[in-house]
Amino acid sequence: MSLLSVSNIEATYGASQALFGVDLQIAEGEVVALMGRNGMGKTTTVKCICGMLPFAGSITFGGHDLGRLPSHRAARLGLGLVPEGRRCFASLTVYENLIAAARPGYWSHQRVVELFPRLGERRNQISASLSGGEQQMLAIGRALMTNPTLLILDEATEGLAPIIKQEIWAAIARLKTETGLSILMIDKSLKELRAICDGATIIERGRTVWSGEMAALTNDVTERYVGV
């Protein structure tokens, strides 16, 4: 049985419909890429999963129906969202950002600092004064501190320097191999997604148009739907 099962969801922003039938499955321990061009509904899908946008259709997570759950309840079930644009708690220090949301489990402040040593060096710095890459690491660390069963990374490497991107990809690879965490990734970098993800789902104009194992994702398909 899959950990997350999104079936045929539709969602609207006011009068304009954004999703027309998105399907997405993630099994326990699986890393799945959610792909598609800009404005096709990737972030909207994530918002529906995390209870930030009402939808029609069904989303179940770990056997729970996410139907009308408010987002904090969905998060408590084990959804760890790293939102697009990082969004740290700006006025808190790095350490305070991490412990504010902590729930007991494998991930502790110490383990997060092992994963991202820079966060240890910046422990008492106000998070608004961090660089973009460090804020991204903090956002991932904060999500891990809630000890999620599914980590959702929405454009985690967008707009970062290549060397920082590499650091973040390396950390995500460690999460996969060392902890077996299930991950849903939205990213533009096809090369890295191919290296790390087990499966992929592509959406086009609010619909799932391709879904399967990463190995089966041919260049024809990606050229057609993602443009690379």
Binding site: M52, R76, P83, F89, S91, T93, A100, A101, N124, T146
Partner: protein, 327 residues
């Protein structure tokens, strides 16, 4: 600029040195003034948890101040008239014991804060201000019409309530009690602000949706803060009533709510010692300017205007600058 830590220590020192001098110089009135400042500070430290940490502009904190006051008034009234508070289904006697009165004040104001907070937190912004104000007015008019306990005239308690091992009729001993409570609550507030709860509350004030995505309910965080805040202000109300040996509906008035908020604005919103500095400045102005002119509130208004326009961090902010990162 003086470091905030040193400024806080200096403010606290005033609370030790001035009464010590007054005791030595046999100036009991100064001790009473300092007691008043300590109690106002306590009430405002309570409100600062809701206002400063939680961003909840409550214009109804006099409800809790008044509940604390009436908890003292009603219990002591029954004790001094030797009549039971209630006889059915079980007998509750009045009491002159401060610990019991404090506990009653804390529990009752926490309960009131739970109900008021639960209803008010459905709204935000100006509606939140209005609904808390409306609750304040409800309690105010209820107390006016509550003739069993003096109605508009209030209730006089002839002898100050007792605390085991102390003679509370001695101003310095009662002051010591109030100052001890203020110190304990300041320490508690300091710890609270640095706890995961306080940090999450701080984040919820600024970015509620981000807090939700990590699995915390911002409304519940604010409700808990409101309850803690109300309980502390309630305790201050009980002490205030004991200081004056008198309770009246003015403790429930919206001017009282405004005054508690003014302490915080003068001292510095969300700063640990902001309410303490504010209450001290307020009591000093009330005493010195009040001696010069009956219309001293005009000068207070001018001071408030200057602080809000030019020194957003209040006295603490003006002297020690913006809040720094805390290690």
């Amino acid at each position: 600029m003086i470091g905030e830590r040193y400024l806080n220590a200096a403010i606290l020192a005033i609370f030790f040195v001035v009464p010590a001098w007054a005791y030595w110089a046999n100036e009991p009135f100064t001790i009473t003034l300092m007691t008043r400042a300590a109690i106002f500070a306590l009430a405002a430290v309570g409100l600062n948890i809701a206002l400063g940490l939680g961003g909840l502009v409550s214009l109804g904190h006099a409800v809790f101040f008044g509940i604390g006051g009436y908890a003292m008034g009603v219990l002591a009234f029954h004790a001094q008239t030797f009549t039971p508070l209630m006889e059915w289904p079980f007998v509750i006697e009045g009491t002159k014991s401060m610990p019991v009165i404090w506990l009653t004040a804390i529990v009752l104001s926490a309960l009131a804060a739970l109900v008021i907070g639960h209803l008010s937190l459905r709204t935000s912004g100006v509606y939140f201000i209005m609904i808390t104000l409306a609750f304040g007015q409800m309690f105010f008019f209820f107390s006016i019409s509550w003739s069993a306990y003096g109605g508009e005239d209030g209730l006089s308690i002839y002898v100050r309530n007792g605390f085991p091992g102390l003679n509370t009729l001695q101003p310095i001993q009662f002051y010591g009690l109030c100052l001890s409570i203020l110190c304990v609550v300041l320490w508690f507030t300091h710890r609270l602000a640095r706890s995961p709860f306080g940090l999450a509350l701080n984040a919820a004030r600024q970015v509620p949706q981000r807090v939700e995505t990590v699995g915390l309910d911002p409304t519940r965080l604010k409700l808990v803060a409101f309850v803690i805040s109300g309980a502390i202000t309630g305790l201050a109300g009980a002490l205030f009533a004991d200081l004056n040996r008198f309770v009246s509906p003015t403790m429930f008035s919206w001017q009282m709510s405004g005054e508690i908020m003014v302490f915080i604005i003068i001292g510095g919103v969300a700063r640990l010692f902001g309410p303490v500095a504010g209450a001290l400045v307020f009591v000093a102005l009330e005493h010195f300017l009040g001696g010069l002119s009956e219309y001293w509130l005009v000068y207070l208004g001018a001071l408030l205007l200057v602080i809000v326009l030019f020194g957003r961090g209040g006295v603490i902010g003006i002297v020690s600058g913006r809040e720094k990162a805390h290690g």
